[in-house]
């Protein structure tokens, strides 16, 4: 069985984000990383591979810089690497990206798809359900663990009562919340093998996807409002003022 893991390269959570001309300035992002929930998806797929011998194909859509993401995935054990090359990925809306990813999944022959529940940059949270819809596949969201279960899979997800185990069979899509284990660290052997792995680069045209026009356009990005400066109080006299502010303004006591 082949598992497709959908990965997105996002600005590292430690990278400074600057907005210029109403858009996040991508050229100023110092470090790009794998979106954290995608890491849980990949780790979970790797664990299934360890126990059952599944083949893992990792798929990403984005510009040339995303190649590093695929190599990083190969270094920890991904078998096949697919890059849907889109230079202007930021101009596409979620449904367009989903169309590309779903077509790439079909092209790979995978019937099981793992992805993060949402990306760390846009936080739209629509990739899993959107791709499932296009593939006509079952979709289980917010999963923390997936295990092989007979011919299908069972996934652990939260429920009102605690957690529930959902059994599904392929074709199916699992959107991962924080998993039980962090993504494994690569090793030198993996890194050296990753270097030799070919990357299959595909365009929308290669996949037969007509992107059409975006149905959602972003008017502008803006940075979060700056925090107001802190207030400083000194001496015992200020106690009642501080208590008043904590009660009435901060609402913490």
């Amino acid at each position: 069985m082949t598992i497709a893991v959908l990965l997105k390269q996002v600005p590292d959570t430690t990278a400074k984000i600057t907005v210029s001309g109403g858009r996040v300035d991508e050229s100023a992002v110092s470090k790009w990383s794998m979106s954290p929930y995608d890491e849980y998806a990949l780790e979970s797929a790797l664990q299934l591979k360890d126990s059952g011998g599944e083949d893992i194909v990792v798929i990403t859509a984005g510009p040339a810089r995303c190649e590093k993401l695929l190599r990083d995935a190969a270094a920890v054990g991904a078998d096949n690497l697919v890059h849907v090359l889109v230079e202007n990925i930021g101009d596409l809306d979620s449904t367009q990206v989903q169309a590309l990813l779903a077509a790439a999944v079909t092209n790979s022959g995978a019937e099981v798809v793992f992805c993060g529940k949402q990306a760390a940059d846009t936080n739209a949270g629509s990739t899993g359900p959107g791709v499932a819809e296009l593939l006509g596949a079952a979709c289980v969201t917010l999963v923390s663990k997936v295990s092989a279960d007979g011919d299908g899979y069972s996934a652990l997800r939260p429920s009102a009562a605690g957690s529930e185990r959902v059994a599904v069979s392929a074709p199916c899509v699992f959107a991962f919340d924080k998993g039980r284990t962090e993504m494994r660290r690569p090793n030198v052997r993996g890194i050296m093998m990753a270097k030799k792995k070919p990357i299959e680069t595909l365009t929308a045209g290669d996949l037969g996807v007509d992107l059409g026009a975006a149905s959602v356009t972003i008017i502008s990005h803006s940075p979060p409002a700056e925090k107001p400066p802190g207030q400083k109080f000194e001496g015992a006299d200020s106690v009642s003022t501080v208590v008043g502010k904590l009660r009435d303004e901060a609402n913490v006591i």
Binding site: K68, R71, D72, R185, N187, V188, R189, I191, M192
Partner: protein
């Protein structure tokens, strides 16, 4: 604040993609596994065993060696690994240097096929730890006059003598010991448990506290005949190992300096005195600019030395210059960073004082600062100045 490695000239852009991936792997390991535990390890005076396991799992031990289960990376990658490890702690880098350059390398370079097959795979995986016995209590910079000797007793060798300042000694399964056999320095493989061999730990260090330092004592120590390294006779044997270790130190010192700079820059930006961040004052900026200047030069020195190492166009004097210079500036940077941190600089909340104390050892081991100057002096003038006796 997340660590931001100073790389003013973007020297790391000269690395291959593979070397950058190795860098990121080790950097993540240091962030996630080493820095949260380093102060406790120093306080306890131990080298955490899980670091040995992790280094083996990452596959970085004996980085530039090929075959026999070794990684087969470039010398450049080995340098980068040392830099990233020493950004964490010099004791951690020392472990890797000793394992790879001083214990695995002599077996790989001078050992028999049987010795290579027997020892190297288990040392590359970290299962067996190695150490290197050259320095003696009375012979540090002058190892040629060592006292430790080996005698051929027909069906075995008999070792007598003592080694000192041996990193990893007490935790090592394998010791590469240099001793005189009929007056010629030869390498011997001594194993933990060999009759007449003990490795008591040296205590009371104010430096490299998260590293094991030991004596090696040989008291009629009997070892089988197949434990002598067939090649590498005379001082050339141990010195060729030291060349590789010193090369790694030239890179490692950059990591320690980068760590101190990173902390000093952050601190200066947030520490308010006289109503402004101290980073806004000229005296502090002057210090930071000097640190940046020296780190950049050290990086370029290390990188070009790596190119020469990989191309095989290096000479030992190139390594002496880089080891000596880079450790020297790293120590000065640590001291200057302590100054910028004010009193806070002495606390274990910051890495500064730990790096500073570590670098005092690093300046002294693997050829002291002064000895490297003498190596360069001999190279320049053709006159050796180590001894009056010729």
């Amino acid at each position: 604040m997340p660590y931001e490695a100073l790389d003013f000239y973007d020297v790391d852009s000269l690395l291959t993609e593979e070397e950058r991936m190795v860098r990121d792997m080790v950097r993540d390991f240091v962030d996630e596994e080493v820095l949260p535990k380093i102060e406790q390890a120093c306080a306890d005076g131990v080298f955490p065993d899980e670091w040995r396991v992790a280094l083996g799992e990452m596959g970085v031990l004996g980085a530039p060696l090929e075959g026999y289960g070794c990684p087969g990376l470039s010398y450049t990658a080995y340098g980068v690994i040392c830099r990233e490890l020493e950004r964490g702690d010099s004791g951690l880098r020392s472990f890797a240097s000793v394992q790879g350059s001083l214990a695995m390398y002599p077996i790989w370079e001078f050992g028999s096929e049987e010795q290579k097959n027997h020892y190297l795979p288990k040392m590359a995986s970290g299962e067996w730890v190695g150490c290197f016995g050259l320095t003696e209590p009375d012979y540090g910079s002058n190892p040629g006059d060592m006292i430790t000797k080996a005698e051929d007793k027909g069906d075995h060798f008999l070792l007598n003598g003592a080694k000192m300042w041996i990193t990893n000694g007490t935790i090592a399964q394998v010791a590469i010991v240099w001793a005189k056999l009929d007056g010629v320095i030869r390498g011997f493989i001594v194993e933990k448990g060999d009759e007449g061999f003990s490795a008591p730990e040296m205590k009371g260090k104010h430096s490299l506290k998260a590293s094991v330092t030991s004596e090696l004592v040989f008291s009629d120590c009997k070892i089988p005949k197949d434990r002598i390294l067939p090649d590498g006779k005379g001082l050339k044997g141990p010195f060729s190992c030291l060349n590789n270790a010193r090369y790694g130190i030239a890179w490692g010192a950059v990591g320690a300096a980068q760590a101190c700079f990173d902390s000093a820059r952050d601190y200066a930006g947030t520490r308010i005195q006289f109503t402004h961040p101290i980073a806004s004052y000229q005296l502090v900026q002057n210090k930071l600019a000097w640190m940046l200047r020296e780190i950049t030069k050290a990086q370029l020195l290390a990188y070009h030395l790596a190119v020469k190492k990989d191309a095989g166009t290096w000479i030992a004097e190139h390594i002496s210059l880089a080891k000596m210079n880079n450790v020297d500036i790293a120590l000065d940077i640590a001291r200057m960073a302590r100054d910028i941190h004010g009193a806070n600089g002495i606390l274990d909340e910051y890495c500064i004082m730990r790096h500073m104390a570590n670098l005092e050892s690093v300046k002294t081991y693997e050829g002291t600062h002064d000895i490297h100057n003498l190596i360069l002096g001999r190279h320049i003038t053709g006159i050796q100045a180590f001894t009056r006796e010729i």
